[in-house]
């Protein structure tokens, strides 16, 4: 019999995993497989090229890169990147006294070095990290506040811009993560009080908008303090953002905890490890690895939530830019200014997700 029977169809052409596919074949297969597909490819390409041309034309060819005269920008057909050159200092540093901006530059350098060093696995030992952080926190504190070493005192109400965003973000994560872990553990605790407190805390705070929590932290919380006692506004708002962050993060971590098989707890119990030994050495390391992608997600969200400090009149990088763009001479070019701020957020956000991807790789390869 020469024709293949329905029960035994003719063999498929031999599959050669090493076969090279030509460019023409690739195009035909992936972009122009049918009339409809080819049409879609052409339409998509047209839209993309139109947009790319606009970006090139507006953002590069006709753009004004450097001028201190807004009229030059007004005369140009393209983007006015000069506004960033002109206004970058109040945008990046907010209300912080102009002559003291060098302190913020130095602070950011210390901050970035500390963070980068801390994120590298080969530096993960307390003998290095503890002194590093003590030095970093003290020197950043001295630089930001001043009042010693001949530096002029700058109250937190004058802090602003990118350094403020960095501090709020770092404070949120450093304070929020441990709280999140405790809330997640509490919610799964066999102790009714710990469980009850965690559930009420998480559900109550997760159910309201962040802005409400910040409003309470700023305007309502002081009413409960005894007269004369004052907690710094910046600290209050950091704690507010951190607690909001912690409630969401706690649920993420709880998901990771639930993924740990019961046998792990039993093995730890049979080695007579205590609850905290089991949690710290066996359960959390595994749970946090499992939910790392979701944890990263909330950390990036927390970075952007720092812009809520607008409600207490602090000028983080976004609010500072809004304020700077009130300048009647330059206000026409707010798009360029906001694009710059978006770029700064994108830089840090993307750096975070790249790092998280790297960590996932390290976990997969057993390096950490």
């Amino acid at each position: 019999m020469t024709t293949a029977s329905p029960q035994f169809p003719a063999a498929l052409p031999a599959y050669d995993p090493l076969a090279r596919i030509s460019a023409g074949d690739w195009l035909k297969k992936n972009l122009f497989g049918s009339v409809w597909q080819g049409l879609l490819t052409l339409i998509t390409a047209a839209i993309f090229l139109r947009f790319a041309w606009f970006v090139l034309d507006w953002g590069v060819i006709n753009a004004v890169w450097y001028t201190s005269d807004p009229d030059v920008c007004r005369a140009a057909a393209g983007a006015c990147w000069a506004v960033i050159v002109e206004k970058h200092r109040p945008m990046l540093f907010g209300l912080y006294p102009y002559d003291e901006h060098w302190r913020l530059v130095l602070m950011m350098a210390i901050y970035l070095v500390t963070i980068v060093v801390s994120l590298m696995p080969r530096n993960w030992n307390l003998r290095l990290l503890v002194p590093l952080w003590v030095i970093a926190v003290v020197s950043i504190g001295v630089l930001m506040f001043g009042g010693v070493l001949g530096l002029r005192y700058v109250p937190t109400s004058e802090w602003g811009g990118l350094p403020l965003t960095m501090l709020l973000f770092t404070g949120t994560v450093l304070f929020g993560m441990p709280v999140a872990v405790l809330l997640a553990l509490g919610r799964r605790s066999p102790l009714p009080v710990a469980r009850g407190v965690s559930v009420v805390f998480i559900e109550a705070l997760r159910g309201v908008p962040l802005i409400t929590i910040l409003f309470v932290a700023v305007n309502v919380f002081p009413l409960f303090l005894p007269a004369g006692v004052e907690v710094n506004k910046l600290l209050r708002i950091t704690i507010g953002i951190a607690i909001f962050f912690a409630c969401y993060q706690a649920e993420v971590i709880r998901g990771g905890l639930q993924a740990i098989p019961r046998g792990q707890y039993e093995a730890a119990a049979s080695l007579s490890l205590t609850y905290w030994q089991t949690t710290r050495r066996i359960i959390l390391p595994q749970a946090l690895r499992i939910c790392l992608p979701a944890i990263t997600n909330h950390i990036i969200a927390a970075m952007k939530n720092t812009s809520f400090v607008i409600i207490i009149g602090l000028f983080d990088i976004l609010t500072a830019t809004t304020a700077v763009m009130q300048d009647p001479l330059w206000r026409k070019f707010y798009v360029e200014a906001y694009l710059f701020v978006a770029g700064v957020y994108l830089f840090f956000g993307y750096a975070l997700s790249l790092y998280a991807r790297k960590v996932e790789g390290w976990i997969a390869s057993g390096r950490i």
Partner: protein, 255 residues
């Protein structure tokens, strides 16, 4: 007052279960089970699945909580008291069906975790102890690997070594070969036989009747949460008293 452990006389059982009963909700999974295990004695517990044999040995180190009866280990009664639970667990090593190694730690770290955390052993001493037991189970070369890089049989031998690092006086085995591919069962059983020959007190839940014949001093048969009979292996296999025991043995020995 004398310490509770000093009430133990020579010849007294190291593990003594007296009328132990346990319920899961309405369902009673253990009915008045009594069992005495002397020092150095090897007891094999068998029975159909759901007969309560795993539950029984898990009660001995409080992975399950019994509601009635008494469990006494080395003269110390198991109660809700954290101190008594901890003291008893320190004397008991446990090996699980699914190994339950810690996947994020290397083999060596799996072994040293218990000694360094609960016995305050120095890291170097714990490493030495761990390597000693890894040599005993014949996989010292795997010390730096992660559990999931090993075969099932190797993982189970690591789990045995991990328990031994706590230097317990009693070892509990909860179906240690049930999750293994057939060709790996022997290496684990060989390890257990060596352990038995070294004089360890052991309670083993298993379907490996060959193992029971070779090493057991006593075979206990359970069904429906009850201890049906218990006898030395030659008597248990040669001349079982109870009808249910005979039916069970017929089923598992026939092929």
């Amino acid at each position: 007052m004398t310490k509770s452990t000093s009430t133990l006389n020579a010849g007294d059982p190291v593990i003594s279960l007296h009328n132990v009963s346990k319920w899961y909700g309405q369902f009673q999974c253990l009915h008045n089970v009594s069992l005495d295990v002397g020092k150095g004695e090897r007891v094999v517990v068998c029975g159909p699945s759901g007969s309560g044999k795993s539950t029984l040995i898990r009660c001995i180190n409080r992975l399950e909580v019994h509601q009635e009866g008494q469990i006494v280990v080395k003269g110390l009664e198991m109660t809700d008291n954290i101190k008594s639970i901890d003291a008893i667990r320190r004397n008991i090593g446990m090996v699980f069906q699914n190994f339950n190694l810690f996947p994020h730690l290397t083999v060596l770290e799996n072994l040293t975790l218990g000694p360094t955390l609960t016995r305050q052993m120095k890291k170097a001493d714990a490493d030495e102890l761990a390597m000693h037991f890894l040599r005993k189970v014949r996989i010292p070369e795997q010390a730096q690997k992660y559990p999931l890089q090993l075969s099932g049989g190797q993982q189970q031998r690591v789990a045995i070594a991990r328990s031994l690092c706590m230097e317990p006086e009693i070892m509990l085995f909860d179906e240690p070969t049930s999750a293994l591919d057939p060709e790996m069962i022997k290496e684990v059983l060989d390890t257990m036989i060596e352990l038995a020959q070294s004089g360890m007190t052991m309670i083993v839940v298993t379907h490996e009747m060959g193992f029971a014949r070779t090493v057991a001093d006593n075979v206990v048969f359970m069904a429906d949460g009850r201890k049906i009979e218990s006898a030395p292996p030659e008597e248990f296999f040669g001349n079982p008293r109870e009808e249910r025991t005979r039916a069970f043995l017929d089923q598992i020995l026939k092929h």
